[in-house]
Point group: C2
Chain length 346, copies 2
DNA sequence: TTCTCTACTGTGAACGTTCACAGAAAAGTG
DNA sequence: CACTTTTCTGTGAACGTTCACAGTAGAGAA
């Protein structure tokens, strides 16, 4: 059965061009173009008649023609250089992605999502980007040694990273939450609840979140005069099972710990599983603090006390920095404060 | 401190054009263009010399110039018309998004992510799309009455939806998992484990997942000769708390239920919370089956027995259908089989 | 040989916009 | 009034590609 009335391909006749608008408005191409781009040096009468003609014809600028001559594409890449599994598990990416899309939409700039999981993909994408198909890149890759950042920077592509890029030779703009301060706050919070044997599960130590949250932990311990026992530190990998294993190691190494600061909610979720299996009551026997305020923090019982990262602001700052850089501004960095969200595990 | 060696904006001199390649290879623009586009009617010698010139110059085609003349943009929109909260909570979107990006990347087609949460955004995006800035749209909007689908279809934009679009007048291509069959399998599985009082928490009944999974549930009940008690059916909203509340209502209405089929893992997670609070042991007192095989299914204890939707295949089929439709093919639909993943809750 | 057909190649035009420039009108300025 | 400056408008060229077409060379057929 085939519907002949309106089969598959019926593209609207032909979209109106700037010529059509000019004719309709009784002005020249140039005037229409000026109205389209800010409208300087246009008489009120002309502008009005052009605007009327635009809405009458339903004209929309052809971005390809524009890009061809301006050299700008008026689009931005959101580049994820993570192995596949990370993307799924980490809710942060999703929040960030959404917020960036939103922020860019406010500027009428479309976001091109690119995921470079493998080396080949990375090459293809780098090639695409350096060819000038996007004006700039929002980069998400927490792991160190990612060659994409250096490569793009060297090619002169405007670039803003999410999280402090470590292990890079040159300057890269970035926006990050204050990991160190957030971790510090949480550990002080654990201390304030009366705990004195505070352990931690860190992220991978080649990520800024791994390094800085550990630094915040150590700083708080130093301030409060608690002993900095190395057995209190276990390294995780930001996954739930990683957190579970790390907690088991801690339980074996320091059975007397009465608090646990975990550098991500997902790992905290795993840690809670391990604690429950070991018959430790939370928060009675042991207090647990997470980091991220991800959906996972609400999935636990009791709900997880955690550190909220201001993802919306991180996203809008990333976009702001990137657009500024595209406009010619220098590289810069922004650090945003975190917030402690008190729930049931402390 | 300013680094003067290489400040902010230093864009590589000027990318090579097809002219440069032609000169370098000693042929004409036309020949280079033919090599670029399939390479028909090109002598082996010419092709070889062009390919050498391309890799020597590092030439990359300027897609804007190409699009300007071909009328195609060689890009595709991934359009999400969901209110904000859905996106965060539902891991399916993320999996699907990733898989679509991947599938498109295989064809060297970039994906433009667009999120239309509000009416104004929807209008802006529709305008953008109908202006021909993308060749087609991958649409994700499970709720009914979404005007975007009709609007885009009427504008002749190639379109493939994820999940059966309901409440639409005309034909829309779509790819979906076999919801009815999956639900049916799960309920038969519950029956096979000896349960005879099987309740269900459905999705919203204006979504295909809500409707079809309920239909599968009813079909299985009918086949096995179990009583179709209406008190056994509660409606949820695909959120964790929604599942929790629905389970509470069921516990009150039919205290003797011994199995529960929940139409999403997230709701199942909530349901498990409610069951635990009511001191029902899972799976001893009551068996629970979910749907989606989302990460949430692994976060519960015991881990959730669920129905896996083949997201990778759904994505690749969506992309295949869309590209075919862009190429002129008619609308069509694909239904893909699901798979029961047996874990700890049955 | 001559003609036809096929495989291949080069060239001008076009896509829809912005930009630089030139010129006209209006507005200040002396 | 004349002159300069500012505001405004129109026009040709250019961006880098593909497409249609014309043309060439070689192979095969008559």
């Amino acid at each position: 059965m085939t519907m002949n009335t309106n089969g598959g391909r019926r593209r609207a006749a032909k979209p109106p061009t700037i010529h059509d608008v000019a004719r309709e408005a009784g002005v020249s191409r140039g005037t229409v173009s000026r109205v389209l781009n800010g409208g300087h040096y246009v008489s009120p009468a002309a502008r009005e008649s052009v605007e009327a003609a635009i809405s009458r014809t339903g004209y929309v600028v052809n971005r390809h023609a524009r890009s061809l001559i301006t050299g700008r594409s008026d689009s931005v890449a959101f580049l994820l250089t993570e192995p596949q599994e990370r993307f799924f598990e980490d809710p942060n990416f999703n929040v960030l992605l959404r917020a960036c899309t939103q922020s860019l939409a406010d500027h009428d700039i479309p976001l091109l999502l690119m995921i470079a999981g493998t080396e080949a993909e990375r090459r293809r994408i780098t090639r695409y980007i350096t060819a000038g198909h996007v004006d700039g890149v929002l980069l998400v890759s927490s792991h160190t040694g990612d060659p994409a950042a250096d490569q793009l920077r060297d090619a002169g592509v405007p670039l803003v990273a999410c999280g402090k890029p470590i292990g890079h030779t040159g300057k890269v703009s970035y926006v990050a939450a204050d990991d160190r301060d957030g971790a510090h706050d949480m550990v002080r919070h654990l201390y304030a609840s009366g705990r004195r044997r505070i352990a931690t599960i860190t992220g991978p130590l080649d990520t800024p979140g791994g390094i800085d949250r550990l630094a915040g932990y150590r700083q708080a311990l130093a301030e409060t005069g608690l002993e900095a026992d190395e057995r209190l530190v276990a390294t995780g990998d930001y996954t739930r099972v990683g957190g579970e294993h790390a907690a088991e190691r801690l339980l074996a190494a320091v059975p007397d710990m009465d608090a646990l600061f975990v550098a991500s909610d997902l790992m905290a979720q795993g840690a809670l599983t391990a604690l429950k299996r070991a018959n430790r009551r939370v928060p009675e026997d042991i207090a647990v603090g997470g980091f991220d305020d991800s959906p996972a923090a609400l999935a636990t019982t009791p709900e997880l006390t955690t550190i909220r990262q201001p993802w919306d602001r991180i996203a809008s700052e990333m976009v702001r920095l990137l657009l500024a850089q595209i406009g010619g501004a220098d590289t810069s960095a922004v650090i945003l404060p975190t917030e402690l969200v008190s729930r049931g595990t402390v």
